[in-house]
Symmetry: C2
Subunit: 402 residues, 2 copies
């Protein structure tokens, strides 16, 4: 897709306004319909983007704002993922999250290869199927007021760890995007790098933050801790891009680094202001790259198969190990882990930008994200209908522990 | 100044990081030296910009981020200017602020015309001398813990109203930037438009916000009130640019519209996160456009004369009416009103971008802003040395009322 000429300041403001308002409006409409907001926000991009109404041109500036938005989406996700909780996560949740990453990757890769796609393209589509988006499941469970049930805790524990695994897969896959073929040595080096980075950020970085705390709190700058956190966010995002992982991998771990101190420094409301403003431009950008002309025949078949595999693979990977506790448990945990989100979208974007994914494969990943995100909440509400009724009777708010 | 080719995502992240860190670092150093941060932030732009070290190219994207930063700087300023306080401001403060706007405009305009500059250029330089930056004076007075003295209240009352007048002048001047000559009819229409806009935003808009409050608080969107405020910010900024006023005039009044409800909706921390992140790019951009090669001979003379006139005119306009209360009072209020800030810088930017101001006149306004901002705090500390001593003895914190 060609980049249009730069817009004037006045045009830019109008574009920002139109994108921001339509995105938030469709998000609001989706939420009123008891659906997650993200598919609505993507829809805004599809409708106004160059493939449909073509109201908003694809300028460099809007793309850059979208990119900064993606960084803040992942920074916020990291800020809400406490390393302490990660370390405390039960062995069961850990096992489920690993199997829940392996199963979709293997199924997705096998299907794509059987269809005759290249190895790299198959790797990208498979990688996009890996990471559960914890936000949507957590929201649904919270709305049903059943966050404190054991099942909910297993799901959230697995989903939190799953985010970290998803980041690892993304880091490795983004590194692959530089070459045309998969070199196994290269893959090994990338995996090692990514794991080292993740372990450092989870176990060492929070201690550095704790050590620096007194100095940071003495700075004269207004909002000093936020400023330091933002500087580290930009540094790690650049560094991650520089060493060949995606920028958002750095952004996620920058958030993780500050997660344990976020409440003390009141970081969440300040960062949530930034994310509220910038995230819509990211989701709009994702939608605007979706080629609506592709939606027919074999594309739809593939999109449906990939979406079904995305659901099935989480039920197999995360649910089946719990078979001893009965089928309802298998389905609850499996469907709870089903929604894909920002990580899948960014894998798709990295693939599209590096030329590895065609517009069809990109579109399939976006549709898979939308389908899993939209299907999971109503199914979850159905599966948890008994717990909801119970909790409505003896509802005592309880602190959530993973 | 030519626009460089668009940077890659990786380059952009590196540029954002370098700009953010150097700007905040120089700001911090200035604050540790008991100086305001803004001149330090501008200095970062001068040093790394194309005229000195040339580390950071002038890309469209960075310029756009700077423009969004300017909008948030003025939105924050508006959010902290309660219309209720404006209406309550004493008649004395009102008179001082009007005279304090007229005096620098007349002196600045006369000097530029006498030097032989064109009328439009003279109008721009004069307009840049008009608006006091309340932030710096308020900070100095707060640091000295004398915000509750009568003198401080007069200064702050006049400075708050002065912001609104500065916006009016900017709106009119930005409208003039479209034509080459000053047409008096055009000027009249612009002034009427700007006054109508200001009165509407001060007296009608807050009531609309109050009316919409119940609906806004019922929205499902996360951070709903912030989202509505940001949408209105973008809309008014675009509208102000569209009808020929500067975008930031709209941004300021969008802030004003929500000022009375900002504490209730906890808007300040959320917006301050956005401003903390985006403002540095604005101040950096201002510095990066400063042509260091100009700093010699006649340029310096003019910059010094304009800076002296900027100080003198506030002492005359805001101080002299208080002569009955003695010379110390004249100087305290006059120097308290001296610092110029973001409004002056934006007048300079609008002038430079529209081609009305040459790089010399632009540089003179930037230097005038830096000089007045740096000189005021130490002089104020000297003038208020007695009050500081008194207050240290019988210091009881008292609520500030304007």
């Amino acid at each position: 897709m060609a980049t249009a000429i730069p817009s004037t300041p006045e045009q830019l403001l109008l574009e920002l306004f139109v994108i921001f308002v339509t995105t938030k409006l469709l998000g609001e409409i989706f939420e009123r319909l008891n659906l997650p907001a993200v598919p609505g926000e993507i829809l805004a991009g599809i409708v106004l983007g160059p493939y449909a109404l073509d109201w908003i041109p694809a300028t460099d500036t809007l793309r850059s704002v979208a990119q900064i938005g993606a960084i803040f989406v992942l920074f916020s996700a990291g800020l809400e993922t406490s390393p302490r909780d990660l370390i405390r996560v039960s062995r069961k949740a850990l096992l489920l999250s690993v199997l829940g990453v392996v199963a979709p990757f293997v199924l997705g890769f096998a299907y794509m290869r059987l269809r005759g796609d290249t190895t790299v393209e198959a790797v990208f589509v498979a990688a996009a199927m890996v990471a559960t988006s914890i936000g949507i499941t957590a929201r649904v469970l919270a709305d049903m007021k059943i966050l404190s049930t054991r099942t909910a805790r297993i799901i959230l524990g697995a989903a939190v760890f799953d985010d970290v695994l998803g980041m690892l897969v993304l880091a490795v896959v983004a590194g692959l995007a530089t070459g045309e073929h998969v070199h196994w040595l290269h893959l090994g080096v990338l995996t090692g790098e990514a794991e080292g980075f993740a372990l450092f950020m989870m176990f060492v970085a929070p201690h550095i933050v704790r050590q620096l705390r007194p100095q940071m709190e003495q700075l004269s700058t207004h909002n000093a801790v936020l400023v330091v956190a933002l500087a580290i966010l930009l540094l790690l995002s650049w560094l991650a891009a520089k060493i060949g992982m995606a920028a958002i991998v750095g952004a996620f771990f920058a958030g993780l680094m500050f997660a344990d101190y976020a409440p003390r420094w009141n970081l969440i409301p300040r960062v949530s202001g930034l994310t509220s403003f910038l995230a819509p431009f990211f989701f709009f950008d994702i939608g605007s790259r979706f080629d609506t002309r592709l939606v027919k025949g074999s594309f739809l078949t593939m999109a449906i198969v990939i979406s079904l595999l995305a659901i099935l693979s989480k039920v197999i990977g995360c649910g089946l190990p719990l078979l001893r506790e009965g089928w309802p448990m298998v389905l609850k945990v499996g469907i709870g882990m089903t929604p894909r989100g920002e990580v899948a979208l960014i894998v798709a974007l990295v693939g599209l930008q590096s030329g590895i994914l065609g517009e069809a494969a990109y579109g399939i990943i976006v549709l898979m994200t939308v389908v899993t995100t939209l299907l999971a909440p109503p199914i979850l509400r159905y599966l948890f209908r008994c717990e909801m009724r119970e909790h409505r009777d003896e509802s005592v708010p309880e602190p959530v522990q993973l």
